[in-house]
Symmetry: C2
Subunit: 315 residues, 2 copies
């Protein structure tokens, strides 16, 4: 594994059905390493399995065992490409929430014109209270602050920009809470601000965040498809495509979703990273990379500290 | 105006401050036409004005006068590039809603891999009940059915795809209502289905729709910026860009947002089209085109009929 070669302090524990993992390792013909070991688990959670049932019935699933390793301190983080709902439910059940955080949120990095921004929640919570959105703001800010050693990353609250209707009641209340939170609260941002990179963090409920993320993915795919179609239209366009290929590849590299693989489940007493289910080697390395960065930068400690400050201020 | 030249049955009434409109017409040096006339209005609603105040206090605004012309039957439709909230509030106040429709919705065409789809609501209503979403579904389906002479356009309900949480309560109820509505209801769709063109109509509340629309706009702009940057990087890339220019232009034409200009305010007893505030000549022509198509295809009649059928079925 490249991650192991790149990082001499990294240890990887592969959790899963022993014979399947071993067979997979053999076909990869990867070098054996003293820093790579297998931890057996006798069950697997299917992608379409009910999260509640998986959590209750599969006590020896690879997912559960991996999270147990984080709980016991044997592992510093868990990276999974499995069933998101089950991962979330199991992690919440086993690890519990950080003090003051009521709900976990899914956060991910997204590319912007200026660099990148973190958006949360992306689907863990479809109904959020203003307090939840405040907590997401704190978690997002502390994540960026830890990962990028920044003092006061800016936080925007995703809202609509129509003149009459500046958002619903919950969003209005959340804005008030964020304004008094001690965070560097920018105020409301609109959908286009995500990719403009207006703020370092964008906060929204999981329903809205999921729709924003998925529609952006859909649009990006449509654009890629149409560009390909146009370059395939004739002899001339194919030639133009060949000449433009290095440029198109450089562009593709910048927006490559694999570079943004690895969403973090924030708010838990442990680091859990969700990789895209269809991740290839390159994408999965990025998810591992995200886990390493979060462990080393002490994200959880920062969130805990900030929540303590907030509650002291309020008390 | 090109629209007049293209359509021999079209009459245009320009509503606004008489001297300003006349001066503007002179600078455009457009041919005078018996089918183009000016209707004076003494006030203008500013873009940042409160919709409620504008509606109450500016009884002779260009917006109000134009909508009054629709109400009186002097005009078949109103096209405005003004303050969306004020346009919505004024149109609702003057024209009233179609029978059975409680709230107007903003609908617009969006490009897809297969062609296009209509999405609504895009920001008129931040809080929607399941019944509102049902009504949006009916309006969207009748719009497509009228404009494209299609019998049973498919309707999708925008939702999140996480395993555990298949949407909030309102969306779940809306799905039940749509399933029994007699429409060709496809079921839930996710954000990426908009651009995949999975259904002819995508229904969502105005908060979610606005975020999806704006974030897509933001992403499209980011991609355009990045492509430009990559093609400007060196002598070689500039040359490649020149060679690829016809292909890039063909692509640009396909996704040109100006071709999708002209959102319709559905649910009113009259046709009101909202053009983008920054629309140029080409984009505004498309908004006029949209108005003409809606008038000629009898959209309002279809919505009214369908609502009557629905209520008969329920009764």
């Amino acid at each position: 594994m490249k991650s192991l070669a790149r990082d001499p302090d990294l240890n990887i524990v592969l959790v899963g059905l022993q014979d399947v993992v071993e067979a997979e390792l053999r076909t990869r013909r990867g070098k054996t390493s003293s820093r790579l070991r297998i931890h057996p688990a006798s069950e697997v959670v299917a992608m379409d399995e009910s999260p509640a049932l998986a959590m209750r019935n599969k006590k020896d699933s690879s997912m559960r065992v991996a999270i147990d390793l984080v709980k016991s301190g044997e592992a510093d983080a868990c990276v999974s490409a499995g069933n998101t709902g089950a991962l979330m439910a199991t992690a919440r059940f086993v690890l519990k929430m950080l003090p003051g955080i009521e709900r976990p949120a899914i956060a991910t990095e997204m590319p912007t014109v200026k660099g990148h921004t973190y958006v949360l929640d992306l689907g863990a919570n479809v109904d959020c209270s203003a307090e939840h959105l405040l907590q997401f703001g704190i978690m997002g800010a502390m994540l960026v602050s830890a990962l990028e050693q920044r003092d006061a990353p800016s936080v925007g609250l995703l809202n609509v920009g129509e003149e009459e209707i500046k958002g619903n009641e919950i969003v209005k209340q959340a804005a008030d809470l964020l304004r008094c939170s001690g965070l560097n609260f920018y105020g409301n941002v609109e959908g286009n601000d995500i990719f403009k990179g207006t703020t370092d963090v964008v906060v929204c409920d999981g329903f809205v965040g999921n729709i924003a993320l998925k529609s952006s993915e859909g649009l990006a795919k449509m654009i890629a498809t149409m560009l390909r179609e146009e370059f395939k239209r004739s002899m001339f366009t194919r030639m133009a495509g060949l000449i433009a290929l290095p440029v198109l590849n450089a562009f593709k590299k910048r927006v490559d979703p694999r570079r943004y693989n690895g969403a973090t489940l924030l708010g838990l007493r442990g680091i859990v990273i969700k990789s895209h289910g269809g991740a290839d080697r390159f994408a999965f390395e990025h998810a591992i990379e995200q886990a390493i960065r979060e462990v080393r930068s002490g994200v959880l400690h920062r969130i805990t500290q900030q929540m303590a400050t907030l509650h002291k201020d309020v008390a």
